[in-house]
């Protein structure tokens, strides 16, 4: 297995292939700043929960680093992400719409994000990836365990490359992405 490109994002740092990006904002505002300065023209971004925003901007930076983006449908690339908190931020947000029985208005737009694998779907939709998408929850960010789980994913004979790695978010201001593009 070979890692071709890597993107790291924390609330105050963005690193693409070892090089820090010059950005001024922090936390949730940082994600919006990355979107505006490096991506743009995808208003669905603003509808996403924090985990999806994080995964979306991180995968965009990763694929921009890969270059030659043509958005042609493909089935040979998988998206397999890992974290500790599943969809906790979205879960908490949805819970707030049903917590008070006097003010009980369950929000479908909040509920739809209460699954961690939605972010893998958002990345697949953006890039027209028909390949495998999967989300695995583990308690520790253990790179060896992640690599073990990614290496076996190549047993699917159609899978030639994977966007994989860690994508965690506990609330709107606290998150960490460490994702990479890897080949067999």
């Amino acid at each position: 297995m070979m890692i071709l490109h890597r993107v790291y994002i924390s609330p105050d740092k963005v690193i693409v292939n070892g090089k820090a990006l010059e950005l001024t904002e922090k936390g949730s505002a940082l994600l919006t700043q990355i979107y505006r300065s490096h991506i743009g023209n995808y208003p669905k971004f603003f509808k996403m929960d924090t985990l999806c925003k994080l995964g979306f901007v991180a995968s965009e930076l990763l694929l921009n680093a890969e270059g030659n983006r043509n958005f042609e449908p493909r089935e040979d690339r998988a998206v397999i992400l890992f974290n500790r908190s599943a969809s906790l931020q979205a879960d908490t947000n949805y819970q707030s719409t049903i917590q008070d029985s006097e003010n009980f208005f369950p929000s479908p737009a909040a509920f739809v994000y209460t699954l961690p694998n939605i972010v893998t779907g958002e990345i697949a939709i953006r890039n027209k990836y028909f390949g495998e998408t999967s989300f695995i929850v583990i308690e520790e960010n253990d790179e060896k365990l992640i690599e073990q789980n990614l290496s076996v994913a190549f047993q699917d004979t159609d899978t030639k490359s994977i966007i994989g790695g860690w994508l965690d978010c506990t609330d709107e201001e606290n998150f960490e992405a460490n994702i990479f593009l890897m080949e067999k």
Binding site: P43, F46, K47, F105, P106, S107, P108, A109, V112
Partner: protein, 85 residues
């Protein structure tokens, strides 16, 4: 009516996170789905919640939404006729 239309536009922008839009950007006669604002099925469900929460209107059949959400103007007219708060 104009006041309700303006308020409704603000509420739609907030409820659906149409971040880069202002009420002035929304044509009250333009279609909310498909070509117009480009909303999707989840947005339609969220608009049903908005009508219940802000105007006390309960839509039992989500298919009713297809008629009501034709445009902001049609929606405002429906709200004016049916609101309970």
């Amino acid at each position: 009516m104009d006041e309700l239309i303006y308020k409704l536009k603000q509420e739609i922008i907030e409820a659906l996170n149409l971040e880069d839009m202002t009420p002035e950007d929304i044509d009250e006669n333009a279609s909310l789905f498909g070509e117009g604002l480009g909303l999707d099925s989840i947005d339609a469900l969220e608009l049903i919640v908005l009508m219940e929460k802000n105007y006390g209107i309960k839509l039992q059949d989500p298919n009713q939404g297809k008629e009501i959400f034709k445009s902001v103007k049609v929606m405002a007219e429906f709200i004016q006729q049916n609101r309970t708060k």
